[in-house]
């Protein structure tokens, strides 16, 4: 038998990677949140002009994309953990995981459209 053929495709993958990526992405999310909080406090709130200027900078767009990518990866680990605990039937769990992945891809496309889709 091929090594690992007895493992469930929706199992835990028995490793450190998801645990670690959840922590690393959490730190990226926290740092970006602190940046946004700082910007909002610095300007004493956000109006349209400030908002536009902020998103006009490429560095800020890339930082925001990194934040959203971290958010997606973090959410994947978290949602999968929830499904592994509460969605016990194999087929149901697989279906719900597919729904989560579809949402993640949709959010990703939407993020790119928001960041680089408008002048």
């Amino acid at each position: 038998m091929v090594a690992g053929a007895d493992k469930l495709p929706v199992g835990a993958h028995y490793g450190l990677r998801d645990w670690l990526s959840q922590r690393v992405t959490a730190i990226v999310i926290t740092l970006y949140s602190a940046l946004i909080l700082g910007v909002v406090l610095w300007h004493g709130g956000l109006d349209y002009a400030t908002f536009r200027t902020l998103f006009a900078g490429n560095a800020f767009r890339v930082a925001t994309f990194l934040f959203m990518a971290s958010l997606g990866w973090h959410a994947w680990v978290g949602m999968r953990n929830i499904l592994m605990d509460y969605a016990k039937p194999y087929g149901v769990r697989l279906m719900l995981e597919i729904v989560v992945v579809c949402l993640l891809v949709a959010y990703g496309g939407w993020t790119i459209a928001v960041l680089w889709g408008q002048s």
């Binding site: 959490a26 949140s33 959410a75 978290g78 928001v114 408008q118």
Partner: protein, 132 residues
């Protein structure tokens, strides 16, 4: 000792009614961490993307995206999601501390769970005061 006398062989009560078991504070923090995370993923991210997209499109879009904050329902949704975000972030920092073996004793773990809950409610109150 006869087999029947061993504790493990006696019929044992199974009592797993989650609504009748009083959960300890860290368990409450843990389930709220999951609920807040799921809400942020399913509702928070699409609302965030919608809001930023509308806000960037035009001054009218900016006004339209912030208009729901003037309605009671919009305020309530924003407040719940803001609490989810703050609580999830604070509970996450608590997790990172636990990963580093900081506060892993029973008493400090209970204390930090209570602290995270209280702090998140205080910060949500500040958001509520700013909204209303």
């Amino acid at each position: 000792m006869a087999a029947a006398d061993r504790p493990v062989d006696k019929p044992r009560p199974v009592y797993l009614n989650l609504f009748a078991i009083r959960q300890p504070l860290p368990a409450i923090a843990s389930i709220l961490h999951r609920i807040s995370g799921a809400l942020l993923f399913l509702v928070g991210i699409p609302l965030l993307l919608w809001g930023v997209q509308r806000s960037l499109a035009s001054p009218e879009g900016f006004a339209a995206a912030t208009a729901p904050l003037g309605t009671p329902l919009g305020k309530l949704v924003f407040l719940v999601l803001a609490w989810c975000y703050v609580f999830h972030l604070l509970a996450g920092l608590r997790h990172l501390a636990l990963d580093l073996h900081i506060g892993i004793g029973l008493a400090p773990a209970r204390g930090s769970a209570a602290l995270v809950l209280v702090l998140s409610i205080l910060l949500a109150l500040i958001v509520a005061v700013r909204l209303w």
